[in-house]
């Protein structure tokens, strides 16, 4: 099979792609009996509904990419490169150590992504480098009807600090983006993904994180699709003192569908995770949250908290908000809460009695509802963007 996507791909990648291709073709595509895909079957995320040799060998689909790298990051020695360029640079060996290791390729979708990715970025933050300003990676997929496969690798060194924001826009056709983030000991990192897309866009994304001793990760997912998105966030705390904060929200309207799954995996104890999720579903849209807290047998003194709430703006909108627990150690503290509710009409009346129009009242209630997420976003401009989108959508409704 011809799997090469970049010029002069290193041998490790050729091997990896070949392995991945075999798996992609051999492994059955997960159906709804597979827990991870019970709300969105994998076939819906691939053109033609199947993982075939033709798909894997299809010509590269162009992806528009643009990166904002702040001066302070450059000064601190941070490297931000398109994936192809990074492979051709001195970073190749480091990429080889981590690529596919964090996210794995246990199912056909993940294997296919590894076999065929043709765009993306590599971010390397050296040990001790501390950068406040965000690094922004923007991707926009092209060619309706075909699959654009992207891959991002973020390596944050020991005691380093960085914020990486990925914006993925899938206006039409299919997009698949897998991001792997490795935090070294004592590192502090925020990874945020903002997903948007047109009514015909279908996206599958997964962000997998490895959190070392005393490292602190914030993962952020903002889903504002007009089509379908299936998004996974999967941090694994592998060192004591590791901490993870997961923050996110989905806004869906029309017939859009957002399916978010978070798996906070405490492989070791003395670790902490906290997930806050808000979903707002309007019209005939559908919004799904499933959040698994997994505590390994040896992970004593883990603390894990999860809170997910969904707000329905229409009686035709549907939200599933499901917490899941897999706790294999007794010496832990875990709490979870989930709720789905319609808009409080008494609150709408209250706001209208203060002169607000119905749509302004809805906008205010919705913004208040997602405030616990917006106030924790790493960049204020992100929150403004979400507010703009909400206001536009609610004014149109």
């Amino acid at each position: 099979m011809t799997l090469q996507r970049f010029e002069n791909e290193p041998a490790f990648l050729a091997d990896l792609r070949a392995d991945a291709a075999v798996r992609a073709l051999d492994l059955p595509l997960p159906d709804r009996a597979t827990h991870r895909f019970r709300f969105t079957e994998a076939a819906a995320l691939l053109p033609g509904g199947a993982c075939t040799r033709e798909l894997l060998e299809a010509p590269v689909v162009a992806v528009d990419a643009s990166f904002d790298v702040p001066d302070e990051a450059v000064a601190a020695g941070v490297r931000v490169l398109p994936f192809g360029q990074a492979l051709a640079s001195d970073l190749a060996a480091r990429i080889g150590e981590s690529l596919g290791e964090v996210s794995g390729m246990d199912d056909a979708l993940l294997a296919a992504n590894l076999a065929m990715f043709s765009a993306g970025a590599v971010v390397v933050v050296p040990d001790g480098a501390r950068v406040e300003a965000p690094i922004v990676l923007r991707f926009r997929t092209g060619d309706g009807g075909r699959l654009s496969a992207l891959r991002t690798l973020v390596l944050v060194g020991a005691q380093a600090k960085a914020t990486v924001i990925e914006e993925l826009d899938v206006p039409a056709g299919f997009g698949a983006a897998v991001t792997e983030v490795v935090l070294g000991p004592g590192a502090t990192a925020t990874h945020a993904r903002l997903e948007s897309g047109g009514p015909g866009g279908v996206a599958f994304t997964r962000a997998a994180y490895q959190v070392d001793r005393d490292a602190s990760l914030q993962h952020v997912h903002i889903l504002m699709p007009e089509g379908l998105v299936k998004v996974e966030a999967a941090p694994v705390i592998r060192g004591p003192g590791g901490r993870v904060e997961g923050l996110g929200m989905a806004f869906t309207a029309g017939r859009a569908r957002a399916d978010f799954r978070a798996v906070e995996d405490h492989a070791v104890g003395d670790s902490e995770s906290r997930v806050t999720w808000r979903a707002v579903a309007a019209d005939r849209s559908r919004s799904i949250f499933t959040g698994l807290l997994r505590i390994a047998p040896g992970a004593a003194r883990s603390q894990a908290f999860e809170e997910a709430r969904s707000l329905l703006l229409s009686k035709h909108a549907v939200a599933e908000t499901i917490p899941e627990l897999e706790i294999l150690n007794h010496d832990v503290r875990c709490t979870h809460g989930a709720a789905v509710a319609p808009v409080d009409e008494e609150a709408v009346f209250f706001l209208r009695s203060r002169g607000l129009t119905r749509s302004d009242a809805y906008a205010m209630l919705v913004e208040g509802f997602v405030e616990p997420v917006l106030s924790g976003l790493p960049v204020a401009a992100m929150a403004d963007r979400v507010r703009d989108r909400l206001r536009t959508a609610l004014a149109a409704a």
Binding site: S353, G355, D360
Partner: protein, 263 residues
């Protein structure tokens, strides 16, 4: 012949004529008549369930109530043809008996949005000054500005915030729905002082209460007693005092007697 214009009496700001209203098919108001002229203070008293809160909710336009008959005219306009937002913008204000929490929305942000909605956008700095002064008047600490609206507020804090909204929004007609309930004596005085300030500014007030206590601080021009969804008795401020000593049974007995007479 139009007496009102000829004698120089101001036209009513609110006229409620034979108003009948129900909730979930259950009749609550059974023919309410009430005329409020500009600057007047009307106290509406009555037992729980007599329909007095319903009246203020129906005038504001609460969606749960259905108007089954009668008329409401506000400044001569047919109020029932206006939606809630239009009523608010035309100068009607309702102080809620149970103010609603708006989690995630700060008090200052909410008040500024309300002012903007009323077409009274003020520059940020001026707004902060206005707000700070209003807080001070009502004994509210400045830290309120960033708290979420009514979220985790005590009963007294909620009622103070309602009065603050009234003072800031400057309505023409304020419907105060049991604003005095759940207040300790200090809070009652502060809230009453706020109401009196609005009255001094010319706001017409319909004060719904079942205690005479607030009327020691806010002097009504007229007192009406509700019974079974209609006004059973009306009078001057002395009626509140009589009610206090004779109780609502007196009004009931009187209503029965007058029915017997008319029969």
């Amino acid at each position: 012949m139009n007496h009102e214009t000829n004698t120089g009496v101001a036209a009513p700001i609110l006229e409620v004529l034979g108003l009948r209203a129900s909730i979930s098919g259950k009749p609550i108001l059974n023919g309410v008549d009430l005329v409020v002229r500009p600057g007047e203070v009307h106290a509406i008293m009555g037992r729980n369930g007599s329909g007095k809160s319903t009246l203020s909710n129906v005038v504001m336009g609460h969606p749960a109530y259905v108007v089954d008959g009668g008329e409401i005219r506000y400044q001569g306009r047919d109020l029932l043809r206006m939606d809630v937002t239009e009523r608010a913008r035309a100068g009607i204000f309702l102080a809620f008996q149970y103010p609603v929490a708006i989690p995630g929305v700060g008090v200052a942000q909410f008040l500024r949005s309300a002012l903007r909605a009323m077409g009274r956008e003020v520059p940020a700095r001026e707004f902060r000054k206005q707000l700070s002064a209003a807080f001070a008047d009502l004994g509210i600490p400045d830290s309120f500005a960033t708290r979420h609206v009514n979220d985790g507020f005590s009963g007294g804090e909620k009622k103070r915030l309602e009065i603050l909204q009234m003072l800031l929004l400057q309505p023409k007609l304020a419907l105060l729905d049991e604003t005095d309930s759940g207040l300790d004596i200090d809070a009652l005085r502060t809230v009453a002082a706020g109401i009196n300030r609005a009255i001094a500014q010319g706001v017409s007030v319909v004060l719904v209460t079942h205690y005479q206590r607030i009327l020691e601080y806010v002097r009504p021009d007229h007192v009406h007693v509700f019974l079974d969804g209609r006004v059973a008795m009306s009078g001057g401020p002395e009626l509140a005092t009589q009610l206090e000593s004779r109780g609502y049974e007196w009004v009931e007995a009187d209503a029965v007697a007058s029915q017997a007479v008319s029969a």
